[in-house]
Symmetry: C2
Amino acid sequence: MLETLPTIERVPGFRATGVHAGLKADGALDMALIASHSPCVAAGVFTTNCVKAAPVLVDMEKLAAARTGYRAVVVNTRCANACTGQQGIADAHEMAQATAAALGCDAAQVLVMSTGVIGTYLPMPTIRRGIELAAAALGDDWEAAARGIMTTDTRPKLASLAVTTADGGRCTLAGISKGAGMIAPNMATMLALVVTDAALTPAAAQTALTVAAERTFNRIVVDGDMSTNDTLLLLANGVSGVALESPAALAQFQAALEAVCRKLAQDIVRDGEGVTKFITLHVAGAPDDAAAHRIANAIATSPLVKTAFFGADANWGRIVAAAGRAGVRVEPERMQLWLAAGECEGRPDAALRLFAVGMPTDYQEAQAAAIMRQPAITIWLDCGLGAGAATVWTCDLSHDYVSINGDYRS
Amino acid sequence: MLETLPTIERVPGFRATGVHAGLKADGALDMALIASHSPCVAAGVFTTNCVKAAPVLVDMEKLAAARTGYRAVVVNTRCANACTGQQGIADAHEMAQATAAALGCDAAQVLVMSTGVIGTYLPMPTIRRGIELAAAALGDDWEAAARGIMTTDTRPKLASLAVTTADGGRCTLAGISKGAGMIAPNMATMLALVVTDAALTPAAAQTALTVAAERTFNRIVVDGDMSTNDTLLLLANGVSGVALESPAALAQFQAALEAVCRKLAQDIVRDGEGVTKFITLHVAGAPDDAAAHRIANAIATSPLVKTAFFGADANWGRIVAAAGRAGVRVEPERMQLWLAAGECEGRPDAALRLFAVGMPTDYQEAQAAAIMRQPAITIWLDCGLGAGAATVWTCDLSHDYVSINGDYRS
């Protein structure tokens, strides 16, 4: 049984905070620290970009060496510590070292995340001061932690769930994420951390996280760019004593983890740079699931489709054209395209069919326009070829996206 | 010897015009007709989109049936005649038939092109009227023809060259193109037509055009979208009597054709929707040419890179990050990135190196910013891995792109 928690619940054994270290000029929170009093099993999913930031390389190395014993994650904004060579690696290690010193643990027990501008070095005195402040402030302030990892995000992103397993155990999950730009089919400038008091083996934790990422964070598209810094971490401290040993209990945990990740991922789209519309895009009837995902990504990354949504223009031909160039065989005569207002998890009940048997239907333009003016819109594209399906969550492309990214550094 | 012609030269045997048929509400030219008094060898390169517009399907069918005997190309704007099923096919055939009737030839001798909104039917009475007007107006008005194919283009695109071959023959080429949006790595909502009075075999014409397209039109990126209607046609009427029989003469013709296509393609980028900057992007040192092209396309289609150019922000980390996610192996430690003002055909002489051995160089930000403020910028990215190279021409992503595409249909 999943229980959506009204606020971010204290996950037993974890403390969190966010502080203003001095990285952001406006006094906003710019670093976050999350710590567990008992050692955690850790799992991670990282950017597949060949150009990986120093904190990604350092975390990957740590997780390759050990999957247990983790005590903390420290995060900074404003500087991605990417394209910074050996100095960047040394700085990431020093960030973990300073955190370990402040918490009284070992540097090997601390994971690091950075987000911000690529190609600048971490201002280490500021980072060290932030770590001191954060260690002193550690408490139950998940909202501050969520705020402390924001870049161009306009609001903090948090999710929390409790699960009562079939075995009668109860465990809790809580997570934070940040996104906004560079959000792509394969992870994004997206940092996310989920903690739980469930007890997981390292292998179970990694499998659960990899599957959840594939179904949630890897299904969101803001602009099609992929960052050097994308990181999703899971820390499980086992404090609940719920061991998730039965397949049923593990499946319940998986569902809860995916629900938390889905909320964190969708919130990244909702708060995407300049976003005015949230689009749920279902592709069905593709030759296989991978083909459906490729088609969905081609549509979701199309600037012409995204600007049409911004303009509330039911210019569905752009959707069909994007599907046609996805690099997957489609046949326009077999395609059918529906549009519906709102967020529909599956095929919308009350949808307007715009295109079928290779031609426009006789829909009323006014009806299509009314749907396009909604803040949430669902697209259902049936390729009519097979059983492959995929869902992607995406958004429009607005003037504000251009403004935000035209002067991000200035 | 190539001879750039000061104006569009009359290509012997060809006539051209553009007319206002009534498709555009503002009275602008909206159809074009190009005709040859003697039959032409024809070659074509078409969109690889699975969703192909009716005129594309009709032209492909005609060219599959016959490569010789063509007399005319008729073009309309405002309606792409795509996603229009059997009615669309019938309309495209009727467009050729009406043109043939007006010119006194056979429908099989007429090729058709359409550009505009997807998913609407051709207004055939208006089209028929336009054909009558155009046939009556046929003359040497290449500029009117270039204007008659414009959609969101802001200016007509023409190119013309004369070639004196090693054999002493002289032939002429002239071409028109339109672009503006939906311009992608593999063709675009791009229509282009090149005519010549050289005598070519069907096989030589197709080979020359395919090679030229690969090196020119397939190297431009405005927004990464690919249209249902992309068409590049070559008509050769042989009136000059220059048969291009020697390999040297054929190579000279190929060079001239590529020069005409490069000008027409680059003009599409320069006049791309909302474009304020023209970017020449060279990728060198890739494992092979295909990898270099993939890396160049990843950079050229990145919204974050494009908005940084719009904002004149030398945020080079976005270029490196885009290269890293191209799906091709790169190693940041081996990459070097240079920036230069202006359009450089090869490696810029006076370039600013921003990134090397995995780290930022000690360049001056003011110097980088000064380059970024130029209307034309060249990027040189050396991957340091091999001998693969590719050049792509692209542009920035501006507020005007969003405005133009947010209300294209309204």
